[in-house]
């Protein structure tokens, strides 16, 4: 290892004589006076790492001339928690609980792509039961709606429209209610597991979803009515944070930003997984390539996702009682979860069986749960269409019970690179719009 390794970013401004202002809040007038006195044209502003508009902890370094952004750089890493490293010390199944916490606004998107990778490594992709895939699709689409609503809602909030946020969060809460009914948890569900899902949907789920769909739709309508024709909203978003197709391709942008530039690329259509090719849905696109069109696209995608959710309901009814985990007992989680008087846990029938009736079952349960299953050596790449873009995972197995390497391509990490091109030359107030339109979550960016 050479010691002349490149060092991290130097001082943002090279000039050592440059005056420095530190704001601690409440002293803005002094700073303004001082800046006026020194009459510097160009000032550097450090936005974050704990600015409310940054969707986590993002630091943005802005070089301004008046209100114009001359240069913008994003500094990340403030939410790095070493999830990928941690996953190397846990079994393949436990990894689900870790990757769920990356982009915590779209938990199940990571779980799904991770499990898809494991199944590919194991060669059991085609053995996953149909009902498990339906439940996965259902959960992924609810996740997509939730994630888009956060994008649109917090985007509105950042521009001062609190009602947009509250409306969006009310609708998002409904998606959580369904997720909670099925998985037991609102977020960080650890629901999608290698080989299937953690548990079947309880009785009454389909009826409950059907009851909530119109409610979610109504909130989406409300959100659209609130925003899309609002002159202030249009004034703030139209023609702001532009990125054309060439820019998207150079920066590897995927998801709603790419589609807003006119390319209808959606992994669900291009390389269908979990049976997406059998669902009827559209991929909305636009050619405007601005912040406004991305809000519209996200809203339209929510409606498309609701269409898929409705189709999932029909299929869940048709597959009532079918398995939700692969048949191979060497991989399938031994117990289904159930809700008891003291909360959610392993089903009592299963506990009775392993503790009182069958020592072999107990051994099997113990081996599979503590040691985990072995995955043949090799590497795979799995990609899905996450709410924010192409979500990929690179998995390497050394033939053991733990990943040798698990690397996630978080779409937010990649897309955040576009911040400079979206903001430079624009108004400083539009930086916040640009951040909202990228819709990254720093938990996923930093992992």
């Amino acid at each position: 290892m050479t010691q002349t390794a490149p060092q991290a970013t130097g001082a943002f401004v090279d000039d050592p004589d440059a005056p420095e202002y530190s704001a601690y809040g409440g002293d803005w007038s002094e700073i303004a006076e001082e800046a006026e006195r020194l009459a510097q044209q160009r000032i550097v502003v450090n936005m974050g790492p704990q600015h409310p508009s940054t969707h986590g902890v993002l630091r943005v370094m802005l070089e301004l001339e008046g209100e114009i952004v001359k240069e913008a750089r994003a500094g990340i890493g403030y939410l790095h928690t070493g999830i990928e490293k941690n996953m190397e010390y846990r079994t393949w199944t436990q990894g689900v609980t870790f990757c769920s916490r990356m982009d915590y606004v779209a938990s199940m998107a990571q779980e799904a792509v991770y499990c898809m990778g494991i199944e590919k490594l194991l060669g059991i992709t085609d053995d996953v039961p149909e009902r498990a895939n339906i439940l996965r699709v259902l959960m992924l689409e609810l996740t997509r709606i939730g994630s888009h609503l956060v994008a649109v809602g917090t985007g509105g909030n950042e521009m001062g429209a609190t009602t947009v946020m509250t409306t969006a969060f009310i609708a998002r809460e409904d998606t959580f209610r369904i997720a909670e009914m099925i998985s037991g948890l609102r977020t960080n569900n650890a629901y999608i597991r290698p080989g299937g899902v953690a548990q079947d949907a309880p009785e009454g789920t389909v009826a409950y979803i059907r009851e909530l769909i119109p409610q979610i739709k109504q909130k989406l309508d409300e959100l659209a009515d609130l925003q899309l024709e609002n002159p202030i909203f249009k004034g703030r978003l139209k023609g702001v944070a532009n990125l054309d197709l060439a820019g998207c391709m150079a920066l590897g942008i995927t998801g709603p930003i790419l589609r807003s530039a006119g390319l209808p690329y959606d992994v669900r259509k291009a390389e269908p997984y979990f049976g997406y090719e059998t669902y009827d849905f559209q991929v909305p696109t636009s050619t405007d390539g601005d912040a406004y069109s991305r809000v519209v696209l996200r809203m339209e995608e929510c409606y498309e996702s609701l269409k898929i959710v409705a189709q999932c309901c029909d299929r869940l009814e048709a597959t009532e009682g079918q398995p939700v985990m692969v048949a191979d007992k060497k991989i399938a989680w031994p117990a289904q979860l159930s809700v008891g008087s003291d909360g959610q846990g392993n089903s009592l029938d299963h506990i009775r069986h392993i503790m009182g009736e069958s020592m072999e079952s107990l051994i099997h349960h113990f081996k599979l749960v503590t040691e985990g299953f072995k995955v043949p050596a090799g590497q795979v790449y799995a990609a899905t269409e996450g709410p924010k873009g192409l979500l990929g995972v690179h998995l390497v197995s050394d033939g053991g019970t733990k990943p040798w390497r698990a690397h996630f391509r978080d779409p937010g990490f990649n897309n955040l690179q576009a911040l400079s091109i979206l903001t430079e030359g624009g108004q400083v107030a539009d930086v916040v719009v640009a951040i909202a339109t990228i819709d990254m979550v720093l938990g996923g960016v930093d992992r």
Binding site: I76, I124, G252, V326, G400, N414
Partner: protein
């Protein structure tokens, strides 16, 4: 799970002689994943290899892509493409680092290849391998709806790989991340700074010899060691 595969046995690993061996992932000791038992199996040493090089025909669209690439590379083809591996329906090209830029440029620009996007670079550390640091590039063709993987291996003493940022600007942050976590130096990167770890951090945390860290936790009177000090069932 297809019936031909046995997850519990040693059949997991391709046997020597099957295919040309490329990457030594790990050398495992003992039989049950944990050392220090009384079985006497502690002396057992098992090298675990990546699936080895494939022979033609590779199947699907793989042959066509490799043909086009070889034609474009001309005389350099044999030196540039070290190995071709087809495993689990995915194509991996092991590329010599001197030729990485040429390969990437052809992959991006040729109309029959047209891999418009590089989905980043994932570092992998195989300490037992003779070239322990691997940079893995998933390449995505939207035009042809294909994906393949480039893999470049370098040594610890000379961890240099040319930067792809000139061809795929999107790889800027991904390369910074791989430098940060694995210490692979991407020559020609405009600003190869740490990205996730603090600027003054020492070491590259996702290397296998870098400890996970953590503290033992007391639970109901018993002490639970930190995750990397627990008994490992590998």
């Amino acid at each position: 799970m297809s019936e031909s595969q046995d997850l519990t046995g040693a059949e997991d690993t391709p046997q020597p002689g099957d295919r040309e061996q490329i990457t030594l992932i790990n050398v495992r000791q003992g039989s049950f994943g944990a050392l220090g038992d009384t079985s006497g199996f502690d002396g057992l040493v098992t090298p675990v290899m990546m699936p080895g090089a494939s022979e033609r025909p590779y199947g699907e669209w793989f042959d066509g892509v490799v043909d086009v690439l070889e034609e474009l590379l001309g005389d350099d083809a044999a030196a540039a493409i070290e190995h071709v591996v087809v495993d689990r329906g995915e194509l991996t090209l092991h590329i010599a680092r001197e030729h990485l830029l040429a390969v990437a440029r052809h992959l991006r620009d040729d109309q029959d290849l047209r891999f418009e996007m590089c989905l980043g670079v994932s570092g992998v550390h195989y300490p037992a391998d003779e070239r322990p640091l691997h940079a893995v590039y998933p390449m995505q063709s939207i035009t042809h709806n294909r994906r393949l993987r480039l893999e470049v291996a370098v040594t610890d003493a000379d961890p240099h790989v040319p930067s792809l940022t000139g061809i795929y600007p999107m790889n800027n942050w991904h390369e910074r991340e791989t430098w940060d976590f694995f210490g692979i130096v991407f020559d020609g990167h405009p600003s190869l700074a740490r990205i996730e770890m603090p600027d003054d951090w020492v070491g590259h945390p996702q290397r296998k010899d870098y400890p996970l860290g953590g503290i033992p936790v007391e639970y109901k009177g018993a002490e639970i060691p930190s995750p990397d000090n627990r008994r490992q069932y590998r």
